[in-house]
Amino acid sequence: MTHDDETERELRRAADLLYPVPDRLLPMAVAAFAWRTIDADLAELVFDSFAESAPVSVRGPDKPRLLTFRTDETIIELELETEGTTLRLVGRMAPAGRAEVEVRHRRGAVTVTADPLGRFAVGGLAPGSLSLRCRPAGAATAVVTDWVTA
C-alpha cells in the first residue's frame, strides 16, 4: 500500500465517522421509488438558467430561475422566484390550453389549473425537491417533469 492510499483511507475513515450518510436520508431515497410515474410522459429538463452551462446573461443573484422541460409534444416553462422563505412559481405550458397542474414537493402536493393560454402560478412553496405533473384537459396521459431542487 502506498503512502497516498494510506492517507486516503484515513481521510475516508474520518469522513465516515464525522459525516456519515444521515440515517434519515436512506428511507427518503428508498421512498423516492414510490414517486416513480409509469403512466405519464417524462418532460426532461432541457434548460436551467442556474446550470453551469447556462449563458451568464440569464443568471445572476437577482434574476429569477428559468427552467424549460420538454417531451416530444409538450413544452413546460417555469420561472421560480424566492419570496422570503418560500418560493413562487409561474409557468406556461405549450401547446396552450386548460390543464390540471400538480406541483409535487416534499410537503405534499398542490394542484392548480392552467388557464386557456396554458398559464399557471403557485406561491408559498417550501424550498426543496420539486416536480410538476400536468394533465391537459381531455388528454389521456399526463406529463411529469424532471425533479429539480428549488
Binding site: 503512502h3 486516503e8 474520518a14 465517522l17 444521515p22 436512506l26 442556474f50 429539480v148 431542487t149
Partner: protein
C-alpha cells in the same frame, strides 16, 4: 441476493422491483452524499440535493443509456444539483470552509460526536484529519470527496465530472494527498494553496 452488477439492479428496478431499488440506494447513497457535501453546501441543502438526485433517478431508471454506469449518472446528477443550489441559495463562493457554511442552528453529526462522552482517540484523530482536509484548496476537497466514495467511481467518470483529463486525476490526487499529509505534519501554513489550480 442480487449479483454484483449495477446494470442488473437498474433494469430490475425499472421493471418495478423495489428490492433492487433498495439495493441501489444502499450501494450508492455514500457516493451521492459525498458528492452532495463536496461543494460547501450546508447540511440541509446537501440533503435536498441528495433527495432530488434519487427522485430524479426514480424517473430515469428505465431510461438510462448506460445502466451499468448508474454510479456515474448519480454522481454527475448530484454535482449538477449542488451547483444549482449554490446559485439558488446565493452562496458567496463554493467551498472554502465547509463548516462555516453549515447553518449555525443545526446540530451537526460532528457536534453530536464531540458531545458524546465516549469520544475516543479515533474520533480525535478523525477531527484532526478533517480539519487538515478543510484547509486544502477547494478543488482538492471536491476531488477527494468524490474519490472517497464507496464504491469508487472509475477515473474516467471522475474526469468527466470535473472536466479534466483522465491522466491528470492520479497526479492531482497525489498532490492533494501529499498536501494533506504536510498539513497533518504541521509543515504547511494554514491556507497555503496548491494542488488543483484551474482546470
Amino acid at each position: 441476493m442480487y449479483p454484483d452488477d449495477a446494470g442488473v439492479l437498474v433494469r430490475s428496478a425499472a421493471d418495478g422491483d423495489e428490492a433492487a431499488w433498495t439495493t441501489l440506494v444502499k450501494r450508492f447513497s455514500g457516493l451521492v452524499w459525498s458528492v452532495a457535501r463536496a461543494y460547501g453546501l450546508g447540511f440541509a441543502d446537501a440533503e435536498e440535493v441528495f433527495q432530488t438526485t434519487w427522485l430524479r433517478l426514480a424517473e430515469h431508471v428505465g431510461r438510462l443509456r448506460e445502466p451499468d454506469r448508474v454510479g456515474a449518472w448519480l454522481a454527475t446528477t448530484a454535482r449538477h444539483e449542488a451547483f444549482k443550489v449554490i446559485r439558488a441559495r446565493k452562496y458567496a463562493s463554493p467551498t472554502d470552509d465547509l463548516d462555516k457554511l453549515d447553518r449555525g442552528d443545526e446540530v451537526t453529526p460532528e457536534t453530536l460526536l464531540l458531545n458524546a462522552e465516549e469520544a475516543s482517540a479515533d474520533a480525535a484523530r478523525a477531527r484532526l484529519v478533517w480539519s487538515a482536509f478543510q484547509q486544502l484548496p477547494a478543488r482538492c476537497q471536491e476531488l477527494l470527496r468524490v474519490l472517497l466514495a464507496t464504491p469508487p467511481l472509475p477515473y474516467v467518470d471522475v474526469a468527466a465530472m470535473f472536466g479534466i483529463a483522465v491522466g491528470s486525476i492520479g497526479p492531482t490526487r497525489g498532490r492533494c494527498l501529499n498536501q494533506l499529509r504536510a498539513l497533518l505534519a504541521g509543515s504547511v501554513p494554514t491556507g497555503e494553496s496548491g494542488g488543483l489550480q484551474g482546470r
